[in-house]
Each structure stands twice: as structure tokens, then as C-alpha cells.
Symmetry: C2
Subunit: 197 residues, 2 copies
């Protein structure tokens, strides 16, 4: 069935220019309904009323729907280190990055929440997520070393910061109360300082 | 060629009772020589002068030569939390676990060093190592919650502690200076406290 025919049958106006958004939406729906493994790219494209060819213009594979933004996200984290004053303490510099990450995600809470449910149901995706976070931590540590922070302080500040981010993120997507991610990060940093005091 | 014949040809007394140790040694040699992917269980057994059947009595597969001790190691980490005084601060309790982990590894530095070189050469093994550490951190956080530590303090103390362990471990296997792992952990905890101060 062609996308055009499907559109007419479903009676839904599917011709918004937002192909990426529609593919994401279709993928998240299908991952939730059938599981990540059981969903094919063809099914995602069909659900979005688009072609496989269009899918592959935006994503290398179905996993990239969930992880494609990772590189830009990591870059934003590292770039924002530069916004911290040159004499900022390591964890204060890392905090600037965490809040920059929070700003990127803040408007995507619903996406983040649905994405998290898909990842939680699939060990392979959980591994990918772990690797992504480890990669961000390594990039942050390198950024701190470039600012003159010595090892092991650079790695420890980066890893502790990413731990704060991860814990805040998990609360953010799980909580009923709709607190801002930045507020949960602030609370996490405070808790970390208390725990280490 | 049977192990017996090979033993005679090589002229090496291979009949020590330490089958596990010999299999580990053979596996590490082969992983270093040929790479992890390119090594088969049959080759490991042959190099050790043992049979595949004996190999499978000790390890489920070749990856378990590198990761088989993980479960016992994690259990030792968690069990040793109980050695911390009931009123110990979360990171102090975690520190007790880290030092217990260090005691287990201290006499296995050469094994740890060679194992690390194999893992560093193989992304899939690096992922497995990350997952193992994340699993230990999650188990430590659960142990802290069981001691009455609230979230997010429990997760943050566990994650920060594991970061200290990982950084200390990497220095321990990389350093020329033969400092003790426990000393590097002590230094890492001090650095973490400084970074978070």
C-alpha cells in the first residue's frame, strides 16, 4: 500500500514536512507495541506514511532513531565546558555541561520518557546507553584536562558529574511530579557534595 | 595430537593439578598473540595441554576466562559493605568495599594487566567490562539502600565510588611504579573529596 493510499484510508493528514519527527514517532509507537527487536525499518516507514528510502535519509538503522542524537548531545556537553570560567573548580565546570545537556533535553521529556521505556526493555539497548554515557564522561574528562585539570581529578569529576546526570535523568523520566531536569541535577550535585563531604 | 603426546614433545611437565590456572595462562597468551576473536577454545585447551572438555568444566566460553570471576568479585564488594560501621557515611561505607575489592586483586596484578591489554584491544570486551562495573555500582547502591541510605545519595555514592575504583585500577595496571591498588584508591577517594568540596 502506498503512503498516499494509506493516508487517504486513515484520514489523517500525514504530509507535514517533519519527516524525521514522524519517523521517530512511528518508531517509538512500534517499539512500544512490538518491542525493538520485532520492529523493522519497513514497518516504521509504513507507519509514518513514508518510504524506507526516506527513513534511510535520516537514520542509518532503527537503533539510530534512539541514539542518533548522541553525538550532537556529547558535543554540546563538551563545547559548553568552555562557558565555565577558566578558574572554575572541575566539578563546577562539569556542572555547566550538565545544565547545557538538561536544556537540550528539557523540551523532549515525552520523547525521553518513551525512549527510556524502550531501552529498559532491551538489554542490548541498555548496553548501548551505558557506552554512550561512558563516552560522554571520557570526552568531558578530556575537556577538563585541556583546561589544565590534572588526572585523576579530571576523570573523577567527569565520572561523578555523569553519575549525577544519569541519576537525575532517570528520576526525571520516572517521576510523576514534573520537576525540571535542571532542578534534579542541581539537587544531585548537592547530594554528591554532601556524600563526599 | 593428544595432550600427553604434546607434553612429551615439549618436554614440559604439564601435569600440575592447577587446570584452571593453566587454562587462564594459555588463554591470555593466545588472546595476546592472535587477538580474542581469533582464538578458539580448542586452541586454548591445546596450549594448556588439556582437553576442550576440561576447559568447559571451568568456563562456559572463552569470554568467561576474562569475566568468570566477576560475580564472586561483585559479591565480595557487596558483602564487605557489612563490615562498615552502621553509622558510616555512605562514601565511607563504599570505601570499605573498594578496599575489599583491592585485596582480591592485589595478588593478581600480572593477570589483571594482561587481561586489561586484551580488553583494551576489543570493543565488545570493553562493553562487557563497562556493564560489569555498572552492575557492581547498582549492587552497591542497593546495599546502601538496605543500610538506610536514601536515594539519590545511595546511587551517587555507589557510582562515585566505582569511578574511584575504575580510575585507580586503570592507573594500577598501567603504571610502571608498582604502587598498591589500595594506595591508588585512597588517593582517588581523597581526590574525589577535593573535587566535590
Amino acid at each position: 500500500m502506498s503512503p498516499g493510499v494509506m493516508t487517504m484510508i486513515c484520514g489523517v493528514a500525514r504530509w507535514e514536512p517533519n519527516a524525521r519527527g514522524r519517523l521517530e514517532e512511528a518508531a517509538l509507537e512500534l517499539f512500544a507495541e512490538r518491542g525493538f527487536e520485532q520492529t523493522t525499518v519497513a514497518e516504521i516507514a509504513e507507519r509514518a506514511g513514508l518510504t524506507k528510502r526516506t527513513f534511510f535519509r535520516y537514520f542509518a538503522d532503527k537503533r539510530e532513531v534512539l541514539f542518533g542524537a548522541g553525538k550532537a548531545f556529547q558535543q554540546a556537553f563538551v563545547d559548553s565546558l568552555a562557558e565555565a570560567p577558566a578558574d572554575a573548580a572541575p566539578l563546577d565546570a562539569v556542572a555547566v555541561s550538565l545544565f547545557a545537556g538538561a536544556r537540550i533535553l528539557q523540551d523532549r521529556r515525552e520523547f525521553a520518557r518513551r525512549r527510556q521505556a524502550v531501552i529498559a526493555a532491551n538489554p542490548e539497548l541498555q548496553e548501548r546507553e551505558l557506552i554512550k554515557l561512558a563516552s560522554i564522561a571520557a570526552a568531558l574528562a578530556a575537556g577538563l584536562r585541556a583546561r589544565g585539570v590534572a588526572e585523576p581529578a579530571a576523570s573523577l569529576a567527569a565520572e561523578a558529574g555523569i553519575a549525577v546526570f544519569r541519576v537525575a535523568f532517570e528520576r526525571w523520566v520516572a517521576e510523576e511530579a514534573e520537576r525540571e531536569l535542571a532542578a534534579l541535577i542541581r539537587e544531585g550535585l548537592h547530594e554528591l557534595r554532601t556524600v563526599c563531604a
